[in-house]
Point group: C2
Chain length 486, copies 2
């Protein structure tokens, strides 16, 4: 295997490396112990305090020593972090401008006096929303609401869809006075609590609360033993990669899935009509599954045809990582989605929505905290940084460079590595063979490169937006070693 | 009506007033404009930026000018805040020790580098949990997990209950390999997604996400148009106040409700067995409805009799406001609850649970953020303050003083004011007559006293733990004026 990616990145490369150096304190990974190391292990076995998650716990972090793309663990191992707290830190660790913001008196007052945001917002809040969330709305969506996490964002988006659907059905915002709906809803009974559904896809992940979990179909560990709504589930296209090589069979697979979507809408019409469709632009937790832009355009058309809502869940794909601010901007939709939900790198959860979805009564969609306005200060500053440093474009270029390298590694390890796929920096690759993925993943970690895993045999890259070709070189180098070790 | 409450508070009074003065910058309300004033109104009508909540919006706040028990609004009105952001600020506004904490480097690193807490916690996290949440566990509960808001806390508590129930039923943590449960849960079908239920009460409020909303029965505006699980709903006792005067009829009412609880458990056994009971110690949103300690003890016994979980939702009652850290400590339970959920004044959501409820597989209960560790720094400091200033006891004494004053007002306005009820500072009173409650509430606001409302005719007091007899005097004085004006 010949490493080529050190010398042939397009002209912007040196600029990108400089950007990365500004953010980073470290220039390369440095591993002192096995990971998790002794200090992580000591902490792991403290009683009670790990909140029942020892099974999910990787290691403990020293956040004060971490910087930019490099995460330092409790044992002083310096790791190039390509996972960024499950894709939730857009600018890596301890960004200086965000740290400076933490020292600001106004920021601290916003943080400490956390309001009941829907009822007693701070006087600067409308402008703050304009300067943050409304700087980057998905095309065509003018409305926005915040929530505390991704699951709550999708739960409330579904509620907005149900409310919109019923408003449409009865031709007015609320039922007439004395309608049976008022009384029955208090008892969870029809017609006040209608039998409606959200159509989701095999392999989807939209959250773990009871409503969103009914649309999540990634792994049994997430769902087992939890009651669920009986809602329709369509197959998500199982495409062959590289997409450009398998165009016609992939198109057939997508057509099959779309046909089933329509069948399900018709089938559910008699038991729990489909009020909305929810989909991720790239199924993340489910295995980094892609579909073509045409698939999504046709799906949007189906929603229009049946007059049901079309929600794009951009909790993981949002905020520039795919090379556009919102991943669905790649699709070239003629009609925008009705709802786009977000969380993770946006610092706060919530969703954008169309004027048609907008509800007009207070307390219909509500929560004591409704997210947290201090997070919008982080978002506002981050948007400024992303724009001024052209990081959306950098995500695309660096992602292309990573994909090129992954495909070269595929050629070198054809029996092992396959199906490299990505959009911008949102990349994944699959490693075949029993336990091979976990072995490579662990080997990478012990070489100082932290990646995520998804599906049964994929590793996923969710680096910060400051990830540069220099970081890609390190990753590919270590991955080459890890593949060689299998 | 003779005001008596200015001169007869027990001996600790001057001490309490001094405490309040330390926290407050203002000594009395000062109202310059009608509320909401012109500056609140200007902001209210900015397009898009109020997040669809104009119907729930009261006014805009100037948090930087607010201090202790006094909230300053956008029009520079100084309000004595007896609602504290829907009961979510334990020490009022801009507490100096918490502000100092915001300036601390370690705090800022914890805040900015928000981790995926279940997988990559900070190295100080176990100790931080010990020093905050595990300093104040409900008696008998050793385990704790954090979540981002109250709704998510209850959603995940219900999941823990379902998992515990199924573990019990099959006699082991997970189904055997190849069990049908693994495959069916991915499709939302039995046996993997079992038909189980949570029993809740009329008038309850446990959240607004689809699972918790199925246990919320406060107002139609919360529930209308949203699909719900068909779960059993028992009547919550409708008691007559004062409780000590109506003992025998109240006891009969409670016996009636408990009998229906058992009937429902038996009835649901064939369609969706009850895995747990959830109840608030005082129904808050539903109208500040109390029940006797004996009622709760008997309810706990019923849960034991049928071997189902008993969850106490202390999202609003928790953290000292009732005169004990947890309201259910008043009950004298022989067997602790299985789960106690919290949020609001605890700064972060989550729930405590028993060793029996504890699950042992990673990712069973999980979320990317799982709350936020920086909030535990606020909690840790607040616990220190509450303990060193003896604020739990102060909540009891000041609450007793408030109740005494409310009952004196009842005597002065017998046709108007009734059913004053409370536990510590967690107090409410009812105002009879069409629209009278809203009129009094608005009058109080325009005199500079902010209270909450609940149910159809109640106002509720949810002041900070620094609320003192001197503040009570102001409230009673203004309430007297408002009642006079009706």
């Amino acid at each position: 295997f010949q490493r080529l990616y050190n010398s042939n990145f397009p002209g912007v490369r040196s600029q990108h490396s400089a950007t990365a150096s500004q953010g980073d304190k470290y220039t390369r990974p440095a591993v002192k112990t096995e990971i998790p190391g002794p200090k992580s292990k000591v902490r792991q076995y403290r009683p009670r305090a790990i909140m029942c998650n020892t099974g999910a716990l990787s290691f403990f972090c020293d956040f004060e020593q971490s910087k930019g793309n490099y995460l330092v663990d409790a044992d002083e191992n310096v790791l190039l972090d390509c996972f960024q707290q499950i894709s939730s830190l857009p600018l890596g660790y301890n960004n200086q401008e965000l740290l400076d913001l933490c020292k600001n008196d106004h920021f601290q007052a916003t943080l400490l006096n956390r309001p009941a945001l829907g009822t007693f917002p701070g006087l600067g809040f409308p402008q703050l929303v304009e300067d943050s969330l409304l700087r980057v709305p998905p095309p065509g969506l003018n409305q926005v609401i915040t929530m505390a996490c991704g699951s709550c964002s999708n739960e409330n988006a579904y509620k907005a869809i149900f409310m919109w659907y019923m408003k449409k059905k009865r031709g007015q915002e609320m039922p007439v006075l004395d309608d049976l709906a008022y009384e029955t809803c208090m008892k969870n009974q029809v017609p006040g609590s209608p039998k409606l559904s959200i159509l989701s896809f095999d392999g989807a992940f939209h959250g773990r609360t009871l409503g969103t979990l009914s649309t999540t179909h990634s792994k049994p560990i997430h769902k087992l033993d939890i009651p669920a709504f009986d809602w329709p589930i369509a197959p998500f296209p199982r495409l062959k990669y590289p997409l450009e090589v398998h165009e016609s069979e992939n198109a057939a697979e997508e057509a099959r899935c779309l046909e089933i979507v329509e069948d399900l809408i018709n089938e559910w019409n008699t038991k729990a009509p489909v009020a909305g469709i929810v989909i991720e632009p790239i199924q993340a937790e489910g295995g980094d599954n892609h579909a073509s832009c045409e698939f999504f355009r046709k799906l949007r058309d189906i929603a229009l045809k049946y007059d049901i809502a079309f929600q794009v869940d951009e909790v993981q794909t949002g905020m520039a990582i795919t090379g556009k601010w919102w991943a669905h901007e790649h699709w070239g939709l003629e009609t925008p989605p009705d709802i786009v939900s977000f969380a993770k790198k946006m610092f706060v959860g919530g969703f954008y929505f169309s004027d048609a979805i907008r509800w007009n009564m207070g307390y219909r969609i509500y929560n004591t905290w409704m997210g947290e306005p201090s997070k919008l200060h982080f978002l506002k500053k981050t948007i400024e940084i992303v724009n001024s440093q052209n990081l959306v474009n950098q995500a695309q270029l660096t992602g292309d460079y990573l994909m090129k390298g992954l495909k070269e590694l595929e050629s070198a390890y054809p029996a092992l590595l396959n199906s490299s796929r990505g959009q911008g920096l949102f990349c994944a690759t699959s490693i075949s063979g029993d336990g091979a993925r976990d072995k490579v993943s662990k080997d990478l970690l012990n070489q100082g490169v932290l990646v995520g895993s998804c599906g049964n045999e994929s590793i996923r890259f969710r680096p910060s937006l400051l990830f540069s070709p220099a970081h890609v070189d390190i990753v590919l180098d270590k991955l080459n070693v890890a593949l060689n070790n299998v």
